[in-house]
Symmetry: C2
Subunit: 203 residues, 2 copies
């Protein structure tokens, strides 16, 4: 068929281009990807399982930055904490991808495998099966909310004399720099402590 | 100047149009607003304090759905819980606005006043000033992550035989329907319990 030796299109390049578009504008279209790669839209579809397939390639690419060894740590709460920190860092690198990935069903095999490992960690630690997904999802909501917060400006509250907010000013001064990390640490400690009490109550 | 009696442009209409655009595409531009309102881009700028001003009008509009009476409830933990629930509902109605609003500095007077009230609630409940913003921000990260999760499909994990995930299947079956609400309730309980221990430690 006269194909070039270095193919213009492959799944890796399609994923990289889709992620560039999402980083810029929070979304992508298949024609946009085709245009950037100098290809026809139909040719892009030839390599992937539709637009949804590209979303799953994006999910695998972003999630590949989560250190998989975290889930092997012991005990379970140390593993969960390390996973949450690595998860936050991976998504903080692509904040505009968060809404897209949070609202599309998870089909990516490697990401499903990561959920399987996290679930196994908690079941092996004797959590009630009905508590496992609520705990993981609450952790993810905190992690992804915090990953978005990491891309916020350091000065998030702009106080002016026309709107007197003396208590807010006092609280902001007391927290100083690094409010995003301090807030994440507080939320993570809260979830881990709560998980410990759930596990004790069930044991 | 021959102005029509019903002005084509006012801040309310600009805000409504910007919110429509954000609900559709997660962002807006001033020329897009002008086009939808049949006006010149320069005329839009005549009514608002630049693009940032429109973001703050959006913030006030979305946050106006948060019930302000929640922060008057007693004791403080009941107020914080009611505020968090109302906050989540307000932002779940506009999930695509969440990244935009989370990553732009807060200048809107009515929203700053709401932070002032939340901070005052916690200072009056004897929290250490340095704990107040981390607690509020951790709560917001959970609330906004969960608001995004509410707009996710009910079947968020699509399991297939080609990727065996028996533990994930078991955990999903155990949680049943309403996983988003159950996860939010778990996270909220965790944060409130943790806040109670912080307060006791400081008292």
């Amino acid at each position: 068929m006269g194909r070039p030796r270095t193919p213009l299109l492959d799944r890796e390049r399609i994923t990289t281009t889709a992620l560039q578009l999402v980083d810029e504008q929070g979304d992508f279209s298949v024609p946009q990807i085709a245009k950037r790669l100098g290809a026809q839209t139909g040719s892009v579809y030839h390599h992937v399982d539709g637009r949804d397939g590209i979303v799953e390639l994006l999910r695998e690419r972003v999630a590949s930055a989560i250190d998989p060894k975290t889930l092997d740590e012991t005990p379970w709460d140390r593993a969960l904490e390390a996973w949450a920190r690595s998860y936050r860092a991976a998504f903080a690198a692509h904040p505009k991808a968060i809404p897209l990935l949070m609202t599309s069903p998870v089909r990516a095999p490697r990401v499903l495998e990561q959920y399987e490992r996290a679930v196994t960690l908690l079941l092996d630690a004797d959590f009630a099966p009905s508590d496992v997904m609520p705990l993981i999802i609450a952790l993810e909501n905190l992690v992804l909310g915090s990953a978005l917060d990491l891309s916020a400006p350091e000065t998030m509250w702009v106080l002016t004399e026309s709107t007197p907010t003396p208590k807010l000013a006092k609280a902001l001064e007391a927290v100083g720099e690094g409010r995003a990390d301090r807030s994440f640490n507080l939320g993570l400690a809260a979830l881990l402590n709560h998980a410990r009490t759930l596990r004790t109550a069930e044991a």
